[in-house]
């Protein structure tokens, strides 16, 4: 099989762009720790209330301007369902689902992760700008899915 010259050039340029995108994505993921949320720990989804840390959901100060939010998701609420933190805080979310698959998205940030029963999902975000951030469930989880929301207040 032989290709036309023009087709060769077209394919080389096209493939080049794709490879460049890959290299960039890989570099950010593995060299800068910007990989997507991929929590690997598991737990028994029928025993969430008895399993640490989810036996005690809440907001915990873990360092200077650094918080951990231990959160459970269930139809159709987040627990805790109100978070208040000072501006400039780094927040580490540790989450699991008590029933079906949910998703968490904080509008105006890059927080976007699936939270499935049986896995512990983790994601971190620094909140620099004060405001009232809308947090929604972005995976269909039942008849009240459109009501599953809360806010993060950054002061």
């Amino acid at each position: 099989m032989k290709l036309h010259r023009a087709e060769e050039i077209w394919l080389i340029v096209g493939v080049g762009i794709i490879i460049l995108a890959m290299v960039f994505t890989g570099y950010q993921a593995f060299a800068h720790g910007m990989a997507p949320p991929s929590g690997m720990e598991t737990l028994d989804p029928q025993k969430v209330d008895e399993t640490a840390p989810f036996d005690n959901p809440g907001i915990f100060e873990v360092g200077a301007d650094e918080y951990e939010v231990v959160m459970t998701l269930e139809a159709f609420r987040f627990n805790p369902n109100e978070i208040e933190i000072p501006a400039g805080s780094e927040v580490h979310f540790t989450m699991t689902s008590k029933d079906v698959v949910h998703g968490i998205q904080v509008i105006g940030t890059n927080i976007n992760a699936m939270v499935t029963p049986g896995h512990v999902q983790r994601i971190s975000q620094k909140f620099d700008t004060p405001g009232e951030y809308l947090v929604i469930c972005n995976e269909y989880c039942g008849v009240g899915h459109q009501m599953m929301a809360m806010t993060i207040v950054v002061k």
Partner: protein, 557 residues
């Protein structure tokens, strides 16, 4: 007679006799179901669009999520697969000199299975027993009959696929040393993908059924998701391969040109078949339970599909330019004006191709990790697949219908229908641009998919989405008019257009075309490579999630 002559002779016979009436009935029956699914699915789509714009509240006995589950399944699974089977069975009948009686019977059995499947699925959704979306992620648990319906659908597809394999094998035995006709080659590729791509989801559904009957207490949620997307991702490429079969084979003939290199076309088919399955994790980029490295490997695999797509883009423009110049088009772009813009059989697939440029670019963008994290599960994604499936695939299918239906019904494609078709194409395109455009924009702002109208307690961010969502309703309204027109055209061409003969357009090769290499006919080798790549992409990550503690069922709707 030497082989080439024999081929021509054979072709003449089918030309003279036209389509085999029994084969035509089978294909037309599949198309009737396909357009029925389009009609019902389209109406449901409009209701969703009106709801999301805040203009219309769906009743409790058929709420937003029932509507959306039905819309997704009818359009994604039923409309597309029944069209593909009807089209490719007609193509096999035409290019291989008729279906074998045995294969025709298998086609009818496949049809029966698929109809039973659709009835089960639709009935459980309407009864409110299965508001689980077309992805049916456990541990949401639908009625067992919903899953059993899915099994019937898959089994129907498999029977249709094996019928196609039998017919192709029979032809090859009788035409030793020849390449199977290009369109039959595409059909083989599509059916190979359908069979291998649906193995994962079949395994998933077979584990869901005992759980749904209560014989098994828990289900592995992450394993189910992963098996689902091994199929879901492949399905996308199955439509794509179906659509480009018409671009390569029919469109050049319609514009009065010659086909692009037969050899390179076959290479594109083989590449798509081999490369596509292990891309499924790009639907799970923000899932837990899959390591960052495996996600990266799948992203790489799904981007490799870009290669055959780039080849296709080149091929199409090469054919257009060559044809335009032969018709006297001069200068850098003069050839462009020489293309038959007034012929809907060309216009519809052309817009389909054009839509794939932003569609494909958007796909590449959202496959990369960080960008995915911005748009995952937002309306952006819904905009993306209305552009790709809703325009690229659907408009190509419509473009095929203008000649396939009258060919099958032994009727004529009239200038009046052509004019209606052009109006249809424009309405569809503009409607989809409004709808998909606003979905992309509002998705970037964070508006989620699969969510009935809400302002989240009048939160500022959610209120800022509303102006965009109005365009969703406008697009949906234009689209429903286009759906009605298309269904009218299809019915007219099936039963009412004037009797006559319509050609099944198959482009010839350029005189200086070089023959396809022998190895393109070695499907065994292609399938071994496919299995090897699937194993490479899936064995280890699946082992990693096998022992995740299981979930009991929930019904949250």
């Amino acid at each position: 007679m030497d082989l080439a002559e024999k081929n021509v002779f054979h072709h003449k016979i089918t030309e003279a006799l036209g389509v085999n009436a029994k084969d035509a009935t089978l294909s037309l029956t599949f198309l009737v179901v396909s357009f029925t699914a389009l009609l019902i699915g389209g109406v449901l789509g409009l209701l969703q669009g009106l709801n999301r714009a805040g203009l219309f509240e769906l009743p409790a006995w058929f709420d937003y999520y029932q509507t959306l589950t039905a819309h997704g399944i009818l359009l994604l699974l039923v409309f597309t697969t029944t069209f593909a089977v009807g089209y490719f069975y007609a193509a096999l009948s035409h290019t291989l000199g008729g279906l074998l009686p045995k294969v025709r019977n298998m086609g009818w059995i496949a049809f029966g299975c698929m109809v039973i499947g659709v009835v089960f699925v639709a009935a459980t959704i309407i009864a409110g027993e299965a508001s689980v979306m077309f992805t049916f992620y456990p541990p949401m648990q639908a009625s067992p009959w919903f899953y059993i319906g899915l099994v019937f659908l898959v089994v129907g597809i498999w029977i249709a696929a094996f019928g196609a394999f039998i017919n192709v094998a029979h032809w090859r035995k009788k035409h030793k040393g020849q390449h199977i006709p290009l369109l039959a080659f595409f059909a083989t590729g599509v059916f190979v993908m359908l069979v291998f791509g649906s193995i994962g989801v079949a395994v998933e559904v077979l584990t869901l059924i005992p759980w749904a009957f209560g014989w098994k207490e828990t289900i592995n949620v992450m394993l189910s998701r992963t098996l689902f997307w091994s199929f879901g991702h492949t399905l996308v490429n199955i439509w794509y391969l179906t659509a480009i079969s018409a671009w390569y084979v029919a469109v050049p003939k319609i514009i009065g040109g010659k086909g692009f290199s037969d050899a390179l076309t076959r290479l594109v088919v083989i590449l798509l078949v081999i490369l596509n399955i292990p891309g499924g994790f790009h639907h799970q980029i923000v899932d837990p339970g899959i390591t960052e490295s495996w996600k990266f490997i799948h992203v790489f695999m799904s981007l490799s599909i870009g290669f055959p797509s780039l080849m296709t883009a080149f091929a199409m423009f090469a054919v257009f330019e060559r044809t335009g110049r032969r018709k006297g088009g001069k200068g850098l772009l003069g050839w462009f004006k020489k293309l038959p813009w007034g012929d809907v059989r060309f216009l519809a697939p052309f817009i389909a191709m054009a839509a794939f440029i932003p569609g494909g670019a958007g796909g590449i963008a959202q496959t990369n990790n960080q960008l995915n994290q911005v748009v995952h599960n937002s309306l952006w994604v819904v905009g993306h697949f209305h552009l790709t499936v809703g325009v690229t695939v659907a408009l190509t299918f419509f473009g095929i219908s203008y000649w396939l239906i009258p060919y099958l019904s032994k009727r004529k494609f009239t200038p009046q229908i052509n004019r209606l078709g052009i109006i249809q194409t424009i309405l569809w395109t503009v409607g989809m641009l409004f709808m998909a455009g606003s979905m992309h924009a509002v998705g970037l702002l964070g508006s989620p998919r699969r969510t009935s109208y809400t302002t989240y307690g009048n939160h500022q961010a959610a209120l800022s989405w509303d102006p965009y969502l109005i365009f969703l309703a406008i697009g949906g309204t234009l689209l429903i008019v286009a759906v009605l027109l298309m269904v009218y055209i299809a019915v007219h061409l099936m039963f009412f257009a004037p009797k006559g003969k319509t050609e099944f357009p198959i482009a010839e090769q350029e005189a200086d075309a070089y023959p396809a290499p022998k190895w393109t006919e070695r499907w065994g080798l292609t399938i071994v490579l496919l299995i090897a790549i699937v194993a490479m992409g899936y064995v280890v990550p699946i082992i990693e999630i096998l022992d995740v503690p299981g979930s009991p069922p929930f019904r949250t709707w």
